[in-house]
Every structure is written in C-alpha cells, then in structure tokens.
C-alpha cells in the first residue's frame, strides 16, 4: 500500500465543500431508502404472492388487483413517492453550484496545468 508520509493532500473535514458534505449525507439517506423499499417490496411479494394460495378462486383482490400486487407494489410505490417528494422539498439542501470554469473551447488537454484555487 502506498501512502505519503505527509497526509497534506487530504482536505480536512472542516475544509470540505459544504455541497460535498450535504451530498454525502443525502447519499446515506438515499441508500437507506432503497434498502427499506427493496425489503418491503420483495418480502411482501414473497409472503403474499410466492408462498400464497395457488387456487385462482381463492385469490383476493384489493382495488381490482391481486392483493400481493396491492400491498407489495402499489402501496410501497405510493409511499416511496411521498418520501421522494418530502426528500426533494424538505430534506435536500440547496447550494450554489459554482460558476462554470471556462470550458476548453480551444481544446486544452485533460491534464490541467495548475492554477487551482482550492
């Protein structure tokens, strides 16, 4: 493993860009959201659908659809929409995205020749 003796390449927590920090926090919530809804959907469909009755006459309908579709897909979908709207309107932080660096219209190389202002 290669490590510098000095760790001076790192940006410390305090100096990190605020947008980066809020994005990281939001990322954790998004991943948590995915895990919760994946478990809800797959487990509910497994419980009510895969291991449910195979008799078509015994099939329960909720709002015109098989009950496993309603509880395992439609309900979590609606709840996830509600969560997404809450996340977008109340949780996600606004930031200044920064001004555009002059994009290299003259075709400079990928390699930036310095002049960093960080």
């Amino acid at each position: 493993m290669v490590e510098n003796d000095e760790q001076d390449w790192r940006v410390s927590r305090e100096d990190e860009d605020p947008l980066l920090r809020s994005s990281r926090r939001e990322m954790k919530v998004v991943l948590g959201f995915w895990v919760v809804f994946a478990l809800w959907t797959v487990l509910a469909c497994w419980w009510l659908g895969y291991r449910g009755s195979t008799d078509p006459l015994a099939m329960k309908l909720v709002m015109g659809m098989p009950s496993w579709v309603f509880w395992g897909i439609v309900v979590p979908w609606v709840v996830s929409m509600g969560f997404t709207i809450w996340f977008a309107l109340c949780f996600m932080k606004d930031h200044d995205l920064g001004s555009d660096q002059p994009s290299d219209e003259d075709g400079a190389d990928f390699i930036d020749k310095g002049n960093h202002d960080g």
Binding site: M1, V2, M92, E105, G107, D109, D112
Partner: protein
C-alpha cells in the same frame, strides 16, 4: 371495409405526421436559439449551455430512460407473463431518488469545476489523466453504438406497424422494393423495414445534427408529454372496454398458458384442394380437441392439388381466453398437430398469470424467481444511474432548486406511467387474445384495437406515437453522447487541439450524421440477438461508469489508476460472463452465477478494482484533491 380501414389508417398517418412536424419545429427553434448564442459552440451544442428548467430536466430524464423497451418490450412481457411484471418493474419506485439525488448535485458541481461537458472529460479532469478520459471515450462509443442499433430497429418496427394499412405507404414500399432489389447487404432485408429505417434515420439525424442538445431536450419534453397522454388514453379505453380492473383480474386468473405446437393446416373434410388456399398469419381455426382454439403463427398456404400445407407453428389456447371478445373462426379448415410444446412452468394451471413467479416457456422455476426480483429491483436504479446518457442530464441544470423540483415531477411521472402500463396490458390479455404469436407488437396492435372499438381510430396515431417518441428520445441522446465523445474527447483532445470553432461545428454536424448513417446501414440486417445486445450494452455501461464516477465524486483517495482499474474490471467481468454464457448456453447471452444478474458481479469487480487500484498507487496531488473537494469561499 377496405375503405374504412384506409380512412382509419390515413387518420393515423395524419396524426402521426402532425406529431413529426411538431418535432421538427422544436428542433428548428432550438437551432435558432443556438445560432443566436455566439459564444461557446461546443458547450451549447452538447450541453445546451447548462440552463434548463424543471420540466426540461424531469422529462428529458424520463423520456431518455424510457426507451423502446418500456413501450414495446415491457408490454410484451406483461402480456406474456401477467401480473408478475409489476414486481419486475417495481425497482422504478426508487429510480427518481437514486438517479437524481445519489450524485446529481455533486456531479453538476464537479463538472463545473472541471469545465467539462462530457462524461469522459469529467473523469479525465477529475483524475488529471488522459488515459482515463480516452478509456471512458472508447467504452462509451463501443457500448452505446450497440444500443443505437437496437433502438433504430425498434423505431423502424413501430413505424411499419403504424403505417402498414396506408395506401401511400404501400406504394412507397413497392418503390423501395424495386430500388433495393439486387443491392448487396441492403437487398436482403424486407423493403418495408428498410423504408421505415431510412425515414426514421433521416428524421432523427436531421434534427439532432441541426438542433444539438437543446433540440434533444426540447423534443424529449414533448415526447415525455406524448408518452404520458398515450398512457392515459390507453388506460381509460382499456379499463372501460374490459369492464373494470377487477373483472380483468378475475378473467386473467382463470387463464391457462397457451401451447405452441407444430403441424399443418388442411381442409376440414380431408379433401384435396381444387384451388390454392391462403390463410393470413393470425387466423383463428377451431382446434382438434374440444374447447381448443388454434391461431396461425405464420401465413399458411394449401397449394392446389394438395391436401395440406407445409409444416408450421401454431398457438393453441383454451377457449376460455376468448370469453370477453368475439373471435372469428375461419370455417372449413382443420389443423393436424404434430408436436405440442407446453410451458416449462405453469402449463395447464389456472391462476399462473395472477401470481409470481409467472408462467414461462423455457424456465422451469417460472419467469421471475425471488432472487431475480431482487436483482431487477437493484438494477433499475443503480444500473440507470451508471448510464452516461443519464449522467449527462445531471450536468444541465444551473440551480439545485431545479433538481429538487424535477425529482418531484419524475417520481409522479414514473409512478403513473409504469403502474398504468401494467394495468393496461393485463387488460390486453383479456381484450386481445392470442398475441403470443407476435408479442412485441402487442402495444401498437392493442392501441389500434381499443381506439377503433371506441370509435376514434385517429387516436391510435397519438397513442402509437408514444413508443415511437420513447425510441426517438433515447436515440437522439445516444447519438449526441457518441458524437460528443468523438468530436470533443478524441478529435479536439488528441488529434487537433487548435481546431477553430468553425471546424468543430462542421465536424460535430458531420459526426452526428455519419454515426447515424452507420447505425442505419448496420441496422438494415441487425444481428438476431439484438435484445440481448441491449442488455449487454446497458449492463456494460453501468459496470464501467457507476463505481469510478461515484467514488471519484466522493472519495478523496481515489486515483487515476483506481479509475482505470475500475472501468476495465467492470468491462472485463461483463465480457467474461458473456463468454462463459456463450459456452454454456451455446448462444449469445449471460451466465447467471448463483442466480444473480451479471450487473452484480460487474459492480463488485469494479468496486474492488477501484479501491485496490487507488490504495496501491500513490495518493493524488494536493492540488487536484483541493480543486474538487475543498470549499471555495469566494
């Protein structure tokens, strides 16, 4: 009857024509705006100057992600396997949040700090490495070109279904047949398909070349709206004609899967035919056993002087499937069945269309096992966020407020579209029996059938414009991503860094046109395994770009070596899984290790390679890390 069909199809043609005029008008308008903006041709042509609003962002993301698959392949799958497709697509409930909130804001910021307008450029600059940029460019061009081919094919197929009854179209097809007769490569294809492919190709290439990214986004917005309306119309008509969802669900629950069979058609009295008898594909005949109906999966001919036609394929269904609709049987014919091919899962069982795993012709465990359901739930959001054409969309807004509102719009839009499509095509099982013979055509056929029964045949033009819009809005984005990679990341970086703007401008138009033309020529005789190629390309792109991009945006220690290893490991793993699949299955396709999709193994390999490669290489320079991670107080 013929006149009625002609006038109906002319109405369809007019509606569709009006839609195309609107597309071109928007492209022309976008081109005008582009010409008025004097500075920064490249950034404007490939990114529309990053100033789009909420509706543009939401609908361009929706329209690009909903490709031909959503409106052609997905309906076919719902029709074939039933309610279980609701579970297959359920991962879309997490797509808006994962696709936009996981890295949208940060990607936009890094792109601005880098002054980058393409994905290879962001990666190249983030890691200060020409090799990373070049590798990304090559991966994009290779994988996206496979995608383009498939979408061109889908667009042409929809167009041919839409226009097939129109007299003008039929005479154009005859003209095309004479034109391509004997021409190498092109002459082997069906003339109607070639005609539609050429029309589709010219239309898309013209508006993308002229209008650039702004035209793509503006037309995406319109196409997104058309898709939305198309689904509303279908939903209302399907539910009213089937007598309510509960009724449809009960009828679907009573159905048993059909059987495919081989055999031949003969005259019912066993006599020799005195003249030639021709039965069109899709003709229904009473089956040899009580309560069975047979549908011809291809055209049948009994030549004069023969007792029977050539061996062919049939679909045999239970007469219960035809309860809701009147089926006209061809009288005087019978079928002799040679071999029956029942479903591997669900044969003879009622109720399989209403519960998971869903019936399957070849999978003994059923269509969707629990493990696969989980895989798809992960693939839709995380596979989607890794696609470069979706990442590009995160670079086009200039305020985070736009992103937040677009998220709300997208969540509502996806929820509505996908749940409605499942309901519509469950109803289609009841209203349009026997479509298993050509399941990919169920969407346009169903649109035509329900609008005609409702007395508004012209509406079919608008409804069928929806899948066409979906294909077109994906093709235009892919086309632009490929051409931007060639012009910006290959030519401008490596061949002629001092090229004047006028040359870049001409080159951008030319490359867009050449890539489009090349795709049209190859798509004339597309490889048979095209659908597998789409899956291969989308998994490959996500495998290459997902982890290098996410780690590059959030992990300071990530290095150029790590990014290169990550991209290559994803691509190599993907290729290896398909090579193993080829040897095991003896056809192009993946090998699902432990029952999981290749995407999982690709991402795992890419993650390990990114982290190991980064930790084993020297840490990045202070300048580079500070440029992208440190706060800027000014």
């Amino acid at each position: 009857m013929g006149d009625a069909a002609d006038s109906g199809s002319s109405a369809v043609l007019w509606t569709f024509g009006a839609y195309m005029v609107a597309v071109f008008f928007l492209a022309w308008l976008a081109g005008r705006v582009k010409e008025e903006k004097k500075e920064g041709f490249m950034s404007d042509y490939f990114l529309g100057s990053r100033g789009f609003g909420v509706w543009a962002l939401a609908l361009t993301a929706a329209a690009t992600s909903a490709s031909g698959g959503s409106f052609m392949g997905f309906p076919a799958l719902i029709y074939t396997h039933g309610w279980v497709l609701a579970l297959w697509i359920a991962g879309y409930m997490t797509v808006p949040l994962v696709a936009m909130a996981l890295m949208g804001k940060r990607l936009n910021q890094v792109a601005r700090r880098a002054g980058a307008i393409t994905i290879p450029e962001i990666l190249g600059k983030r890691f200060n490495s020409a090799a990373v940029g070049a590798t990304a460019t090559i991966m994009i061009v290779l994988f996206l070109f496979c995608y383009l081919l498939a979408q061109f094919k889908a667009g042409s197929k929809i167009l041919s279904v839409l226009l097939e009854d129109s007299p003008i179209y039929r005479s154009a097809v005859n003209g095309m047949a004479q034109l391509i007769d004997g021409v190498p490569w092109i002459g082997q294809a069906e003339p109607d398909y070639v005609l539609c492919l050429v029309v589709f190709g010219i239309a898309v290439v013209a508006y993308v070349s002229y209008g650039g990214f702004r035209a793509v986004v503006w037309t995406d917005v319109m196409q997104g709206v058309v898709m939305g309306f198309g689904v509303v119309i279908l939903l209302v008509l399907a539910l009213s004609q089937v007598g309510g969802l509960a009724n449809a669900s009960r009828q679907v629950a009573a159905m048993t899967p059909p059987e495919f069979a081989t055999g031949w058609v003969e005259l019912a009295d066993g006599a020799t035919a005195e003249e030639e008898h021709v039965l069109a594909k899709g003709t229904w005949i009473a089956g040899s056993e009580e309560g069975e109906l047979v549908r011809l999966a291809e055209r049948a001919v009994i030549p004069a002087g023969d007792k029977a036609g050539e061996p062919m394929e049939f679909l045999i269904t239970d007469s219960a499937v035809a309860e809701a609709v009147d089926i006209e049987l061809a009288e005087g014919y019978a079928v002799a069945i040679k071999e029956r091919m029942p479903h591997a899962n669900g044969a003879g069982e009622a109720g399989v269309y209403s519960r998971p795993p869903g019936p399957s012709r070849d999978k003994t465990l059923g269509y969707l096992t629990v493990a696969m359901a989980f895989c798809w739930f992960a693939f839709w959001p995380f596979g989607g966020v890794g696609q470069p054409h979706n990442m590009v969309r995160m670079m086009i807004f200039d305020k985070t407020q736009v992103l937040r509102r677009a998220l709300v719009t997208l969540a509502l839009y996806f929820g509505f579209i996908y749940l409605s499509l499942v309901i519509v095509f469950v109803c289609a099982r009841v209203l349009l029996p026997g479509m298993e013979i050509d399941a990919d055509r169920v969407m346009p056929e169903f649109a035509k059938a329900v609008t005609a029964s409702a007395g508004f045949p012209w509406l079919a033009g608008l409804v069928v414009a929806a899948p066409f819009a979906a294909v077109m809005s994906s093709v235009d984005s892919f086309l632009l991503v490929v051409s931007s990679s060639v012009v910006r990341d290959l030519y401008q970086r490596h061949i002629n860094p001092d090229a004047p703007e006028s040359r870049l401008r001409k080159l951008s138009y030319a490359v867009t046109a050449v890539v489009g033309a090349l795709a049209v020529i190859i798509a004339v005789n597309p490889p048979e395994y095209l659908q597998d190629l789409i899956v291969f390309a989308s998994e490959g792109l996500a495998a290459c770009f997902l982890m290098p991009m996410i780690l590059g945006l959030f992990w300071q220690r990530m290095t150029a070596t790590g990014a290169l290893c990550g991209m290559l490991a994803g691509a190599v793993m993907q290729a290896a899984i398909y090579v193993i699949g080829f040897y095991v299955n003896e056809k192009f396709g993946s090998y699902d290790m432990l029952g999981l999709q290749p995407f999982f193994w690709d991402v795992a390999a890419s993650t390990i390679a990114c982290i190991t490669g980064s930790l084993l290489s020297a840490p990045p320079s202070r300048e580079l890390v500070h440029k992208f991670f440190a706060r800027r107080d000014n």
